[in-house]
Symmetry: C2
Subunit: 208 residues, 2 copies
DNA sequence: TCATATATCGGACTTTTAGTTCGTTTTATG
DNA sequence: CATAAAACGAACTAAAAGTCCGATATATGA
């Protein structure tokens, strides 16, 4: 087989396996999906699965990486295209909210929250590259705010990138887990709460 | 055996097992600690372990609950005893930082971040009670800020409790995981970064 | 002291699942 | 058609959670 076709076929197989695994993970949960399940659903023998991936963790990480890419692209395009700092900020927030809403299972992975080793076999998570895309987008956003003198004078670029990222992520994460408090303890819905939080948090950044 | 003594003995055994498990979890990681390990180290037979705890998850959750209690007490006493809002705020932050530093493995559990089910056996996490202690402490803190007119007028108590908790937790969480960026990308150490973040975040709350 | 109940022991057993091995079969292609 | 690579499949190993049950130790009350 020609090297070109061979490679394309390999990629096709990898993708096939990944999307089968993705479906199962989403339907039954990662822990409750066995390698045999994946093999059967993807329609390969288990041996073949192990030709393409070296462990279940490997499969999971590949899926995670893919989602991270989706998010990074989303954020990069959404945020970079916006000239206005305030609008860019809310776009960033909304991209993250949307992502958490669509792929709640993968959201934890974002915060570097994932166990790197799952027991026996370590699998390097090389999400750094993707994380850098997001990092760049936030950096760009903040730079606009600095140029336009929207940000406070004592805001320093580098630490603030991490600060914004981690605070917003934390807010969304907890809101996702505490669905019970909305409309009861907190007399507003989740959406409204998130808007309120982002608006309040915005105040920590801007000149007044 | 008298009911009183019997109960005390049972409690003693439970505690023994828990503290053995805790040591092992901290030394080798939860995933790499087997029930046989725990039994051997705690010096009970495996059958007896299963008399006192119904699963490994159960053991883990009991330990988690204990740590949550420690944190809740710490926060309650630290924060409640402080009259000044600003000082109380920084005490809250520092309690959390200290906790993350001492028990990084259990920090994730705080954010309601923990998988409730670990596969087959579900184990109810009843951390709500503990979480409420923390909740009350933050509520009390914010109320001081409202009374003293330190907080902005448009701050609403209930959503802000969750907002403060989740943002601070997120900041600490990410800082704990991204130790590589400090002193390099971000030209400050972790401590300094955290101070900077808490100070910046404080600005989102107060009247100016 | 003896009888009895209860706690604990210990080790074999079951089950589940990740990951491996290897001989066989299929398939592409020269 | 011959051959090499890819995929199969089924049996296997290993590790760990959790179960069972008969044996043993221990406390207590008559």
């Amino acid at each position: 087989m020609g090297a070109r076709k061979k490679e394309a076929l390999e990629q096709f197989n990898r993708d096939n396996i990944l999307s089968a695994a993705k479906e199962l993970f989403e339907k039954k949960g990662v822990e409750n999906t066995t390698m045999d399940d994946i093999a059967k659903y993807a329609d390969y023998s288990k041996s073949t699965i192990y030709v393409y991936f070296k462990s279940k963790d490997d499969i999971y990480n590949c899926i995670l990486e893919r989602y991270m890419n989706i998010l990074a692209c989303q954020i990069e395009s959404d945020v970079a295209s916006e000239k206005d700092f305030e609008k860019g900020y809310y776009r960033l927030c909304n991209s993250l909210v949307k992502f958490e809403h669509e792929y709640p299972q993968y959201y934890a992975g974002l915060l570097g929250q994932e166990k790197i080793t799952n027991g026996k076999k370590k699998t390097e998570i090389k999400l750094n590259t993707v994380g850098e895309g997001i990092n760049d987008a936030i950096t760009g956003l903040l730079q606009k705010g600095i140029e336009k003198k929207v940000l406070r004078d004592d805001i320093e670029l580098e630490p603030t990138v991490l600060y914004v990222w981690s605070a917003i992520s934390g807010i969304i994460q907890v809101a996702g887990k505490k669905s019970d408090v909305f409309d009861t303890t907190i007399k507003m819905g989740k959406e409204e709460y998130l808007d309120y939080s982002f608006k309040t948090f915005y105040e920590s950044l801007i000149r007044r």
